[in-house]
Amino acid sequence: MSTTSVSATAASAHLLQPAFADPVLDAQRSFRAALKALAGPGIAQSLLSAQIPPHLEGLASASHALCLALLDIDTPLWLAPKFDTQAIRANLTFHCGCPIVSDRQNARFALLDDSQLHDLSGFDLGNDRYPDQSCTLLIQLPSLQGGRQVAFQGPGIETKNHVSLPLQEAFWEERESRNDFPRGIDVFFLAGSELMGLPRSTQVAFKPVLSKGGA
């Protein structure tokens, strides 16, 4: 860190706390879990308690671990108002070095809570040439269960994976309307120490009785 940022962070230095106990291996384990979550959409992955960073106020341990594993100086982060606290800003800036942006369009990662899911506008969907430049959403939920059951189909899923994420209808509509393969957004759902992946390639089917053409 340069001298400039040392003086800039001096004001919030008292908010800093330790991150991963083993920065290299714990980040690699978390990254591996994220990789498996995206490779098998709809299957919850758990982080081992030994690889979880110390509790950071406002963040679930899976969200915190994924932030530490995925963010660095090249990945601008957008924070939902709920997560835009001094402690989260100070610690993510210090340990990840990531810029925190106020404009969704500039973000490579976004940390959202369930109050934001009716509006996913503004996030970068990538372009046809570089679809990988899209913004990845980290969505923290109270739980990965308890909602209406939907079926995931697509790459990485043999037949169907049934999930019951506690999400409103509006989220699925928002996602569908921004899915223009290969452009689109990839999502991680995070609750406690568990995470679940929903890449853009996954088709979401609702139960036939309640079908609204979500697939």
Partner: protein
């Protein structure tokens, strides 16, 4: 480490830059003599000592176009004392224990005991460093050769 002068406008910054500069030039043995006193406080490692690389840049003659000299290994560490003071260190080399002690010294130097630590730790080290630097410069100066051109005989 040379880019600090631009930021020294505020006196407390200048003072901290001075002692961080002194600490960064210490040898491990210099700090080991103070180790019991430095560690005699409750503290936690915000960033455990870690080794990395940094690119060293230079300017020919101090004012030419910048060029990359090469990479060097550095060790950095951040500690926080129980009362919230946070100490940073960046040292050349790969000595983690040294980096931790230097970070602890920076944290102690920001507190009420600042005068004590300046007197006990920083000032003797700064004097020793200045003495060794001037000795080095004197040795180098003794080998200096002033070339001059004799008037060339033309016949």
């Amino acid at each position: 480490m040379t880019a600090t002068s631009a930021l020294s406008s505020r006196p407390e910054h200048a003072a901290r830059q001075h002692w961080i500069g002194v600490l960064s030039r210490t040898r491990r043995a210099d700090l080991l003599t103070h180790e019991p006193a430095l560690r005699d406080a409750e503290y936690q490692l915000i960033r455990a000592p870690e080794i990395g690389m940094t690119l060293v840049r230079g300017r020919m003659g101090g004012s030419g176009a910048p060029f990359n000299v090469g990479e060097m290994s550095v060790t950095r560490c951040v500690v926080r004392l129980a009362d919230g003071r946070t100490g940073y260190s960046y040292l050349a080399g790969r000595d983690k224990a040294h980096a931790e002690l230097a970070a602890l010294a920076d944290a102690h130097l920001q507190g009420a005991q600042q005068a004590h630590w300046m007197r006990e730790l920083i000032e003797p080290l700064a004097q020793a460093q200045a003495a060794s630097r001037s000795r080095q410069q004197a040795e180098t100066a003794a080998t200096k050769v002033d070339f001059f051109t004799l008037v060339r005989g033309e016949n």
